[in-house]
């Protein structure tokens, strides 16, 4: 039983992390941080830089939460990766950050948050910054 948070270095991701930390503390479960970039390009804006990871680890320690960071790249859709890791870590809740998307934006680019919400087989906590 763990708390799984899908993180990217954005305000939405930050909000998700904060909420996930609270959840993990409340439930007394370890926190799994999934920061998985799309495999392929050498550089990705989705990867959390080292000092951010360090800072988040310190915050977790201060709250008495056991933190596990996963940064391995994935292929395909991030939504599938989140759901796969949720299954693997036996997550009791998935925490994600929500970003406002226009209907056209959702049509062309899709919404991974929407896919996670609709396809998850466990509770999902969607947070706004």
């Amino acid at each position: 039983m763990t708390v799984l948070v899908g993180y990217v270095p954005t305000p939405e991701g930050e909000a998700a992390y904060g909420a996930a930390l609270d959840e993990a503390q409340r439930r007394g479960e370890p926190l799994v941080l999934l920061n998985s970039p799309r495999s392929g390009a050498p550089v990705s804006a989705d990867v959390a830089p080292e000092d951010t990871v360090r800072e988040m680890t310190t915050r977790a320690q201060a709250s008495g939460v056991e933190l596990q960071v996963r940064q391995t790249p994935h292929t395909g859709e991030i939504a599938d990766e989140v759901l796969r890791v949720a299954q693997e870590t036996d997550a009791s809740v998935i925490v994600i950050g929500l970003r406002k998307r226009s209907p056209v934006g959702k049509l062309i680019m899709g919404s991974s948050a929407q896919r996670i919400l609709l396809d998850a087989d466990r509770p999902v906590l969607a947070v706004k910054p």
Binding site: S39, G40, A41, P42, S44, V47, P73
Partner: protein, 505 residues
């Protein structure tokens, strides 16, 4: 020395079209250096069709810009991401990335930019004085000298190229064979054309280069497993301190000279000079333990050397008509397409082209220095594009581009065939560079050889009777025979040492 043609060269470079193409070349070069995948040789090959529509000077200015621009681009990823973008920037990873981890990425990039600029400038100055001398000396060359020179050039490139020597020479031999396809210049008979009309005029250089270097590399990269993904790096302090500059001044000086010398040698080139410069700096240093942990000399030396070498590798091509490495071979081909025959007569017969290209190196170097630091952020953003998206676009550019050369679908077939060949060669350890080099030199070599034999009445020993061709051929034999002899001797020494040790025990 007559300065008039040199100054005329500047007038040529400063024409708006040429300036624009210089800028385009340098930017594309930096891009190519940053992005993993295509190298400068492949990019120049793929862009060959563009050279048809412009003047010779303009085309070569752009292609040259791509070449030395790529030397700098590779530094950016080496320093920031520990990902060498170009083979000549691999050494920069050791100390450059260490500096970045200490928060001094700007120092590393700044030193690299300054060193590259100085190295390039020193090389160009030396080129300006040396090239006409060499060309003048070579005007006395006859067919025997050219035979020996071409042979030596091909062998040096095959021998000094990274990879199995044996396979590189085999690649060169295949290149020479391919050059014989078509009509024989002396007798007019057809060779190896198998009745195919398209082959009657010989194999066209452009599809071969585009296929071997362009498509071949893209196909080869398909098998690459993806590397680690990094967060976009921030570059804080953008300029090196005075202390750093003083510390690196020696390495920059040494790197310039070393790079210049190694670049002229066929097969030498930017990669070898960056390695040699690093090794030299480390050996000379009183505190060699700093190397690998952020020694500025470890960045200054190699970066200076590789730009100096990239520039000086133009000398054999522009003065003797002998390309010093694979990229120069492609540029040689580009010149042939434009109807320009590179050789010693180039300086005197086409001074505008010669000095236009040489002087564009100055301008291009300045452009690089100006643009390098501000554009770093942009290039890191560009690295976010997935190679999977760029690959099909590049493939289509190649396929459609080769069609535009002759409006012949057969060329597309050729480029695909050579693309497959290029893939197989890289996969199996054969460097395609010597093949292209031998292909462009093949006609010249055979021509000179047959003329020489006619002059000598079939007596091949006459080659050694003439001083220049004799010396060159002796060098050729030395380079060809020395390595296998050396390893055979050493092997025997090893076994005798081993038997001695066994006896002692």
């Amino acid at each position: 020395m007559d300065l008039a043609p040199v100054l005329d060269g500047f007038t040529v470079v400063l024409e708006p079209t040429n300036l624009l193409y210089c800028l385009i070349g340098v930017v594309i070069g930096m891009l190519v250096g940053v992005l993993p995948g295509l190298g400068p040789a492949a990019t120049i090959a793929i862009l060959l069709p563009i050279t048809f529509g412009v003047e010779a000077v303009t085309a070569i200015i752009m292609l040259a810009g791509i070449f030395y621009g790529a030397q700098y681009g590779g530094t950016i990823t080496s320093v920031l991401l520990r990902l060498p973008g170009e083979a000549s920037s691999v050494v920069t990873v050791f100390d450059g990335h260490a500096l970045a981890r200490q928060g001094k990425a700007g120092t590393a990039l700044g030193i690299a930019a300054i060193g590259s600029f100085i190295g390039g400038t020193v090389s160009i100055l030396a080129l300006t004085f040396l090239a006409p001398l060499v060309a003048g000396f070579a005007l006395d060359f006859g067919p025997p000298e050219y035979t020996a020179l071409a042979l030596l050039g091909i062998l040096l490139v095959a021998t000094v190229s990274s990879g199995s020597r044996l396979k590189a020479v085999i690649a060169a031999a295949i290149g020479l064979l391919l050059a014989t396809v078509g009509r024989d210049a002396f007798t007019g008979g057809e060779r190896f054309t198998f009745g195919n009309l398209s082959l009657a005029d010989g194999l066209d250089f452009v599809p071969i280069a585009m296929g071997l270097f362009g498509l071949g590399e893209i196909l080869y990269n398909l098998e690459e497993r993806h590397t680690a993904v990094h967060a976009p790096a921030t570059v804080a302090n953008v300029w090196p301190s005075r202390k750093d500059l003083r510390q690196s001044s020696g390495s920059i000086g040494r790197g310039s000279v070393l790079g210049f010398v190694l670049g002229i040698l066929p097969g030498g080139g930017a990669t070898l000079s960056s390695l040699a410069a690093y090794a030299m700096e480390k050996k000379r240093s009183k505190t060699p333990e700093r190397f690998g942990h952020g020694a500025v000399e470890g960045v200054a030396g190699p970066e200076t050397a590789n730009n100096a070498a990239a520039t000086s590798s133009f000398i054999p091509l522009l003065t003797l008509g002998i390309p010093a490495n694979a990229t120069m071979a492609v540029i040689f081909g580009a010149l042939l397409i434009q109807g320009v025959s590179p050789g010693p007569q180039l300086v005197t017969q086409e001074p505008e082209l010669f000095w236009g290209v040489v002087n564009s190196l100055y301008i291009g170097n300045i452009l690089l220095l100006i643009m390098s630091i501000p554009l770093v952020g942009l290039f890191v953003k560009i690295l976010r594009v997935r190679p999977a998206i760029l690959a099909p676009i590049t493939v289509l550019i190649t396929l459609v581009g080769v069609y535009t050369v002759n409006n012949d679908v057969f060329d597309i077939v050729l480029v695909i065939v050579f693309g497959a060949l290029g893939y197989l060669m890289k996969k199996l350890g054969f460097d395609p560079g010597p093949l292209v080099l031998a292909f462009v030199l093949g006609t010249l070599l055979e021509d000179s050889l047959r003329r020489s034999l006619l002059i000598f009445d079939g007596d091949a020993t006459e080659f050694f009777a003439r001083p220049i061709s004799g010396i060159l051929l002796v060098l050729f034999l030395l380079v060809a025979l020395l390595p296998p002899v050396r390893s055979a001797i050493v092997r025997r020494r090893t076994t005798s040492t081993e038997t001695r040790t066994k006896e002692l025990v």
